[in-house]
């Protein structure tokens, strides 16, 4: 994707919108454990259009926000989001991700991987790990991927996502 297809200003606008959605819309939705994570969508959209280093830095910042608001184990969110951002940037260059469903799949996989790392580094017992990774994380991944699809459809002109997939 060339830089002029999605300019920095347009991307910034979408990021701000997702930030507002995260803190204003998400609390009004259903159960917090399965409601979409708009910050992760923002991170994935940004990471898939950035170099791995910048994506990792963005992931670190998002993780720091998560750790500040849920300090069950400070640093776990930062580590998880850093890895997610880095891998998303790499994944984008390895897979052909100029496709809406692939983008949504990236978001869902990123969320599940984020939860895996957070749970492992914050010392969860195996039962909680199993429940979270087999029930709540997939559900949240689905809702988050659905919202990512909506964002991509809404701003398809800015992100130049193919709709014929």
């Amino acid at each position: 994707m060339s830089p002029n297809r999605v300019s920095r200003a347009q991307l910034l606008l979408v990021m701000i919108l997702l930030l507002v959605l995260q803190f204003y819309l998400r609390p009004r939705l259903w159960d917090a454990r399965i409601s979409p994570d708009f910050l992760l969508i923002a991170l994935m959209l940004y990471a898939m259009r950035s170099s791995p280093g910048v994506a990792a830095l963005a992931g670190f910042v998002v993780g720091l926000i998560a750790d500040t608001l849920t300090p069950a184990r400070f640093g776990a969110g930062a580590l998880a989001h850093t890895l997610v951002g880095y891998l998303a940037a790499w994944g984008r260059s390895i897979f052909f991700a100029d496709n809406m469903l692939v983008n949504a799949g990236f978001v869902a996989a990123g969320l599940w991987f984020r939860d895996l790392v957070v749970l492992l580094t914050s010392g969860s017992d195996h039962r909680q790990l199993l429940t979270e990774l087999t029930l709540y994380s997939p559900l949240q991944a689905l809702t988050t991927a659905g919202c990512a699809l909506l964002v991509l459809i809404t701003f398809r002109a800015w992100f130049s996502i193919r709709l014929d997939a």
């Binding site: 994707m1 830089p3 920095r8 930030l19 507002v20 995260q22 803190f23 204003y24 819309l25 998400r26 609390p27 009004r28 917090a32 454990r33 994570d37 910050l39 992760l40 259009r49 950035s50 170099s51 791995p52 280093g53 910048v54 990792a56 830095l57 670190f60 993780g63 720091l64 926000i65 998560a66 750790d67 500040t68 608001l69 849920t70 300090p71 069950a72 400070f74 640093g75 776990a76 969110g77 930062a78 580590l79 850093t82 890895l83 880095y86 984008r92 260059s93 939860d115 957070v118 749970l119 580094t121 914050s122 010392g123 969860s124 017992d125 039962r127 429940t131 979270e132 994380s137 949240q140």
Partner: protein, 336 residues
């Protein structure tokens, strides 16, 4: 921003990734107090507008303003509106909190729980009240059903509560009958390990029957005496000859709590009377509904009486378009 085609893995990327990973590991392995201090600082400065935004959203979702109006009006239409399932459940929960706050003999601060999308959200809760509202570290946090946790760290506008689901949570407790004392901690094993509690350290000679309510004992000075912690639902293990460990169903669920009360009154007496049993609560609820119905029926009767009086006046007054009431002459027999 690099494109796919010209993206290269530069030295800058390596440095950035290693830096971020290094900082994350520093955060992970640094002392808990330092991590909390950083989190408090960030929450108070950079993230303050976002926390404020979420607090407003929570307020909107839980319709506290609407609830106040409903409570103030208390008329039939709002009564019927409460039968909408979600609104009724929410109102019931807020009413329980209001009733609890009336029964508490200690000062308290009402706070909203700002749930986060992290998998570990149930272990620590972000509350919308902070030191500015009077919250301080180690204040107990309760819901109408019972104990939620304890305040872990406080900043001026928000605070972090450690719920009973946190692996490091402990509370000294005793059975409602008073025959067994022990320590309650999150369950770590067994079929129902997740979301359950364990009542540990109960002497082997003290057997506790199923269904027994377990309350905080007040020992240790953090939690007041008498807050429901859970109900005994089984035995986890018996250490031969000296200890029994029981499984408890927690009294309150931190994952679904939207509003909580932070007890800020320091060390208080027995709070058991503030948390009556389920049957008593149900009786109180039905009694309040009956009172509302009685008030409604009296008001309806008064309205009907006024309407009847207006009608009769209208019929009897010619000024109001009616015909004067004339006493009919006595009937006479007619002769055909």
């Amino acid at each position: 921003m690099a494109s796919v085609s010209d993206r290269r893995y530069t030295r800058r990327d390596t440095v950035l990734v290693l830096l971020c990973l290094g900082l994350s590991f520093v955060g992970l392995f640094s002392p808990v107090e330092r991590g909390q201090a950083i989190a408090d600082t960030l929450r108070e400065t950079v993230l303050a507008p976002l926390v404020w935004l979420q607090a407003r959203a929570e307020e909107g979702r839980t319709s506290r303003v609407r609830f106040r109006q409903v409570t103030a009006e208390r008329d039939s239409s709002s009564y019927l509106a409460q039968f909408l399932p979600s609104l009724r459940a929410e109102n019931e929960r807020l009413r329980q909190l209001l009733r609890l706050s009336r029964r508490l003999n200690t000062s308290y601060i009402a706070a909203e729980v700002l749930h986060q999308p992290q998998a570990t959200d149930g272990r620590t809760l972000l509350l919308s009240a902070g030191s500015r509202d009077g919250v301080s570290a180690f204040n107990p946090v309760v819901a109408p059903e019972g104990l939620i946790g304890v305040i872990l760290s406080v900043s001026s506008r928000s605070s972090i509560a450690m719920s009973w689901a946190h692996p490091e949570f402990r509370v000294s407790a005793f059975t409602v009958s008073g025959n067994a004392f022990g320590v309650v901690a999150p369950a770590t094993e067994g079929r129902y390990g997740e979301g359950a509690l364990e009542f540990r350290g109960v002497p082997y000679r003290d057997s506790v029957p199923l269904g027994t309510l377990v309350l905080s004992s007040g020992l240790g000075g953090v939690f007041p005496k008498g807050i429901p912690v859970g109900t005994v639902i089984g035995t986890v293990r018996v250490e031969a000859g000296w200890e029994r460990v029981y499984r408890l169903r927690p009294a309150a669920n931190p994952g679904s709590a939207a509003h909580v009360l932070v007890l800020a009154g320091g060390r208080t007496g027995d709070l058991a009377r503030a948390f009556p049993s389920d049957s008593l609560l149900e009786a109180m609820r039905l009694d309040s509904i009956a009172r509302v119905r009685r008030a409604d029926s009296v008001a309806q009767a008064a309205r009907a009486a006024r309407a009847a009086r207006r009608d009769s006046l209208a019929r009897s007054s010619p000024i109001l378009g009616g015909t004067p009431t004339v006493t009919p002459p006595p009937a006479t027999d007619s002769i055909p």
